[in-house]
């Protein structure tokens, strides 16, 4: 190999690169670059035509600057010019620049495509390859459109050079990935499949990637590839290491091709043809046998290449999942790797074993390695390997080893890396639940989880333990005793307080017989944690206290005392204050019977998929496979009668007020669906919330559109008003954008609580007005008496629409929930741009819009004054231009405007003919879009 002709002409480039390297600081570098950019720009703009060499040099410099991380906004044209150069180097640099810098600049892409087309038809293989590389590198849709039909021809043509075939195959693959609809193999299919038989190994190596991808999408059309792939594989596997010459890599024959062949076979089920299958099984056995042979080289490349094939073969064996013998052999092989000194191999073995664990044939074999895996979890120095070990333990867990595995995972949690703790917690929680034989073990495990990794225990996990305790009466006493003991710890996690508060509030009576955990002792224990807790936990504790009053009348006085003290009853947090006040009143007014009914024990939760599982599924990862499996077994077996992915507090609400529709969605779901600025009630109403939503509920009003039509021709005013509330709006529109200010005024002297607003788009509208989002400032949940609050709504019109968006307002006034839905006056005419035009223009356009569906007409009786000035004001308010001296009849009004949507503009012409004598109007609209004509006609007919 000759040394590179280092100075092959671009000395200027080398000098520039050295300059950059010599820069002492970032600033100096930027300065040097700017100087160079200015120089290049002036050269490109200069009068003197640059020769090809200079152009190449400068384009290359620009490329270098770009690769340093700077933006380049010129030079594209010069690069495109290089493409048509006759000099190979110039062409090559041109293509490189395009490949790196051009994404899909529509102006240039045509020129580029032209150059590529020329090179593709040049019949010069070097040029053809360059062009194909460029297509494969850019892979844009425009290129697919231009070349997707040409490339298959090149790929299968008999006279195409091998190197060109290789490029064509992978180029086609790239286009297929970007634009599958444009790459139609059809007639070429069988010839492409037969490339697997090509004599040139390089051609097979390239073509097989294409075939694999196409097979995944159209398995039936490509299924003949299976037998071809098996015979090719068989020839490679049985060849001596020297047979394949340069395709042998460190004594391993064609490792890349072997892996790709094994990968291709994973797109299909086991071959049906007995002979083919026999041959394949032989191959797989040979690969497994070779793993036991002494290595032919000590080089890591040798063992990597060999093991790459082995792992791919094992993947295929797992994919088939039908050959018990091979599965067990694979498992044993991986078992050996678990203790290999190469970290890479241990990592891969753990990963691969994870999938083996889910096969019924190899599950037991995987389990035999439990000690090794536990050891890996404890001793591996690399966290990514430990993570694999944890995944494998999770996958191999079943009833027989659950206790051991859960214990090991728990103890690992104490030192686990922060990045994986949350996932570990979820996994432990799931395993504990799934394999719980006795529920006291389950409760212990979860409480340990909270103790060890409380910060990582998500809501789902502690909700779940409560759901299960509530649903299983055999564990309630034990749970109460255990949480009571756990709370004794001087510093216990807030999640422990939540679980403790909830469980003692429900089942404290089960341990109250023991003087060491008498009602007062329980209460004092809980209350000792109170001041250290956050608001939601305190709210939960308050509810636990009122439950205590019901369970243990002897605690009533003490608890009332606590509720009555200023820090509760005058708490600055409204939720806490409200609970204190309500619970105090409830405990003093209600009779024992009422109290007992209101504060009854929670009913069991309905059987539902565990919300923890759902959460783990959301976290992707290798555990995902086993989660699905776990879920299946759950559906069949139903090992727990606990369930319900409602959080305890939604259930509490449902229980305390039967008339409240009980939302059965997950609590988290409800919260995330809540509008911005949702009242804190959702966060706090744990346990029982007797008064919340218990008052007479205002009927979830039908949509109120009284105010709506009044705003077609105006933008500001009062939209709605009743005895409680006044809603004013101010809006402004420009082109297809609008902004609406909503003013909510409290007309009473009493505070509105939990004030929330949501704007939604009914059905069809959703796709039309997309970003109908509330501006960053959500409304305050509290509106004081006499106060007014403001909210901003940003609107973008994407295309024309008929339905208006809806505004829903909810708040509590006194005890009663108020619920109000209004149509927001966003109508299509708001996006009008007025258009002035002459009479002749108007009528010419009028004639152009002469298709029957483009016109909408209505004759209607006048409902309002027919006074000229009033009419004019309304028509101007519509947003169109009111055109004078256009209609031959001066009594008539004509208007013109263009509706601006994001996607298109709709031209509209309007003519209103009043008949004062008959008190009637005739309204005619002609628009370039028929739906707009109809909608405007409907809206306007109500205005005059």
């Amino acid at each position: 190999m000759p040394a590179v002709s280092k100075g092959d002409g671009m000395r200027g480039l080398a000098v520039f690169i050295s300059d950059i390297r010599n820069c002492k600081s970032k600033e100096a570098e930027i300065k040097r670059i700017n100087k160079e950019l200015a120089n290049i720009r002036s050269k490109f703009k200069g009068d003197k035509a640059l020769d090809g060499y200079s152009k190449k040099k400068y384009v290359c410099k620009l490329l270098f600057i770009f690769l340093l991380g700077h933006d380049i906004d010129f030079g594209h044209m010069e690069a495109v010019n290089l493409l048509s150069s006759n000099k190979y180097t110039e062409k090559q640099i041109g293509y490189l620049f395009i490949s790196v810098l051009v994404n899909s600049n529509s102006e240039l892409i045509r020129l580029i495509n032209n150059a590529i087309k020329n090179d593709l038809s040049s019949r010069n293989p070097t040029f053809m390859c360059l062009a194909l590389h460029c297509i494969a590198n850019v892979g844009s849709r425009e290129m697919a459109e231009a070349f997707a039909s040409e490339i298959p021809r090149i790929l299968v043509a008999g006279d195409t050079m091998d190197s060109v075939k290789q490029s064509a195959a992978l180029c086609l693959l790239r286009l297929y990935k970007t634009s599958p609809d444009l790459v139609l193999m059809g007639e070429w299919t069988s010839r492409v499949v037969h490339l697997l038989n090509d004599q040139h190994m390089g051609v097979v190596t390239a073509a097989i990637s294409l075939i694999t991808c196409l097979s995944q999408k159209n398995p039936d059309e490509f299924k003949t590839c299976v037998s071809l792939a098996v015979s090719r594989l068989s020839r490679i596997v049985s060849s001596a290491s020297t047979d394949l010459q340069d395709y042998t890599y460190y004594f391993v024959p064609a490792p890349w091709l072997s892996c790709k062949l094994l990968r291709l076979l994973q797109c299909y089920p086991p071959p049906e043809d007995g002979a083919v299958k026999g041959r394949l099984v032989e191959c797989l056995e040979t690969i497994l046998n070779k793993a036991q042979e002494p290595p032919k080289s000590k080089k890591v490349q040798h063992s990597n290449a060999k093991n790459a094939i082995l792992f791919e073969a094992i993947s295929l064996i797992i994919h088939y999942d039908s050959e018990p013998n091979l599965l067990v052999r694979a498992c044993n092989q991986l078992g050996q790797f678990l203790q290999h000194r190469e970290t890479n191999l241990r990592y891969l073995a753990l990963e691969s074993m994870c999938t083996l664990a889910s096969s019924e044939f190899s599950h037991e074999a995987v389990k035999t390695h439990i000690e090794t895996v536990i050891n890996a979890l404890k001793t591996e120095r690399d966290v990514s390997v430990r993570q694999r070990a944890a995944d494998l333990l999770y996958a191999m867990c079943d009833r027989s080893n659950a206790k051991q595995i859960v214990a090991e995972m728990l103890s690992y949690l104490e030192t686990a890396d922060y990045s994986i703790r949350e996932e570990m917690v979820l996994k432990v929680a799931i395993l504990a639940e799934k394999y719980a034989v006795d529920y006291s073990w389950y409760v212990d495990t979860i409480l340990n989880l909270i103790r060890i990794a409380g910060d990582y225990v998500s809501e789902e996990v502690w909700y779940r333990v409560i759901q299960i305790v509530i649903n299983r009466d055999d564990v309630q006493g034990y749970a109460a005793k255990t949480v009571f003991e756990a709370l004794q710890a001087p510093a216990c996690h807030e999640n422990m307080v939540k679980v403790g508060g909830y469980i003692l509030g429900e089942f404290g009576n089960l341990i109250a017989g023991d003087p060491r955990s008498s009602p007062l002792v329980q209460f004092n224990l809980l209350h000792s944690k109170f001041h250290l807790c956050s608001v939601p936990t305190r709210a939960l504790l308050l509810s636990a206290y009122i439950k205590f009053i019901n369970l243990f009348p002897e605690t009533k006085a003490t608890i009332q005392e606590v509720l009555r003290c200023d820090s509760q009853i005058r708490n600055s947090d409204v939720e806490l204050q409200q609970r204190a006040v309500e619970y105090l009143k409830l405990s003093s007014i209600a009779s024992t019977d009422v109290l007992a009914t209101v504060l009854e024990e929670m009913p069991p939760f309905p059987e539902r998929e565990s919300s923890i599982l759902a959460k783990l599924k959301k976290k992707k990862g290798p555990g995902a496979v086993s989660v699905t499996e776990l879920e299946d077994s759950k559906r069949e077996g139903g090992e727990l009668n606990g369930g319900g992915d409602r959080g305890p507090d939604t259930a509490a609400m449902a229980a305390s007020n039967a008339s409240t529709p009980s939302p059965s969605a997950d609590l988290l779901g409800i919260r995330s669906a809540a509008p911005v600025g949702a009242a804190p009630a959702s966060a706090g109403s744990l346990l029982v919330d007797v008064f919340s939503e218990a008052g007479p509920i205002a009927p979830s009003a039908a949509v109120n559109d009284d105010g709506f039509l009044r705003f077609v021709c105006k933008n500001n005013g009062v939209l709605f008003e009743n005895q409680l509330l006044q809603i004013g709006i101010k809006s402004e529109y420009r082109q297809n954008l609008g902004r609406m200010y909503l003013f909510y005024g409290n007309k009473t002297s009493v505070q509105f609580a939990s004030f929330t607003t949501t704007v939604s788009c009914p059905g069809e509208l959703q796709s039309h007005i997309l970003s109908m989002h509330l501006c960053t400032k959500p409304v305050e949940p509290l509106v004081e008496g006499g106060a007014q609050i403001q909210q901003v709504l940003n609107i973008e019109c994407l295309t024309d629409f008929s339905d208006a968006p809806l505004l829903n307002i909810k708040f509590r006034y006194g005890g009663a929930l108020q619920n109000l839905t209004l149509k927001l006056p966003v109508t299509i005419n708001k996006f009008f741009q007025p258009t002035e035009m002459t009479s002749s223009d108007f009528f010419q356009r009028w004639k152009q819009l002469s298709q029957p569906q483009q016109e909408a007409q209505k004759i209607f009786k006048a409902n309002h004054s027919m006074d000229t000035e009033v009419l004019k004001a309304k028509l101007l308010g519509l947003g169109t231009a009111l055109l004078d001296n256009v209609d031959p009849n001066p009594e008539n009004y004509v208007c013109a405007g263009v509706i601006q949507t994001k996607g298109q503009q709709v031209g509209c012409l309007l003519r209103l003919e009043p008949n004062a004598q008959a008190q009637m109007y005739r309204l005619t609209l002609r628009c370039s879009k028929d739906s707009v004509s109809r909608r405007l006609c409907e809206l306007l007919a109500e205005q005059f």
Binding site: N86, T89, Q92, V100, N124, G202, R381
Partner: protein
């Protein structure tokens, strides 16, 4: 393969090759994140790691890190050997390659890579064949560099 990055121990990017369409902004973000993650790893750690929904395979050669992002079903070990084969190709072409060769002849590093991998898949794994293609290109370069403007190419390959 979704992309390949070459960067120095100081975190300087020396070569980047993207096989999926991404915005420049996204590319920079990914590069920054990965360079940081990989440089933070200790020498004896395994060469693979999970990152977003991809698998990262990396290996260090002298002062340069070679780092590939592959998809879930791709083979880690064979990717490690793709890296090695590319290093061998560079080594053979430049004659015991060093970081400086790649800095000063970055365009050559790209050309060699394009002959070896295309669209993120191995195109030609034979060292001889890849180098033959590059040699032929160099030959064309010298011939046309001689100032014979406009001569048609009717030879080679």
């Amino acid at each position: 393969m979704q992309f390949m990055l070459l960067f120095s121990r100081q975190g300087k990017l020396r070569l980047q090759k993207w096989y999926v369409p991404l915005s420049d902004k996204e590319k920079k973000k990914i590069t920054r994140e990965l360079v940081q993650t990989v440089l933070a790893r200790k020498p004896k750690m395994c060469s693979f790691l999970e990152w977003r929904d991809l698998k990262i395979v990396y290996k260090r050669y002298a002062s340069l890190y070679f780092c590939c992002a592959i998809e879930d079903q791709d083979n880690e070990l064979i990717t490690l050997e793709i890296i090695h084969r590319y290093v061998e190709l560079l080594d053979k072409y430049f004659g015991s390659v060093c970081e400086l060769d790649i800095i000063f002849n970055f365009e050559k590093a790209y050309f060699i890579l394009d002959e070896f991998l295309l669209g993120g898949e191995a195109q030609e794994t034979s060292k001889k064949n890849v180098l033959k293609a590059i040699e032929q290109a160099d030959l064309l370069q010298e011939v046309s560099g001689g100032g014979q403007i406009g001569l048609p190419f009717h030879f080679i390959c």
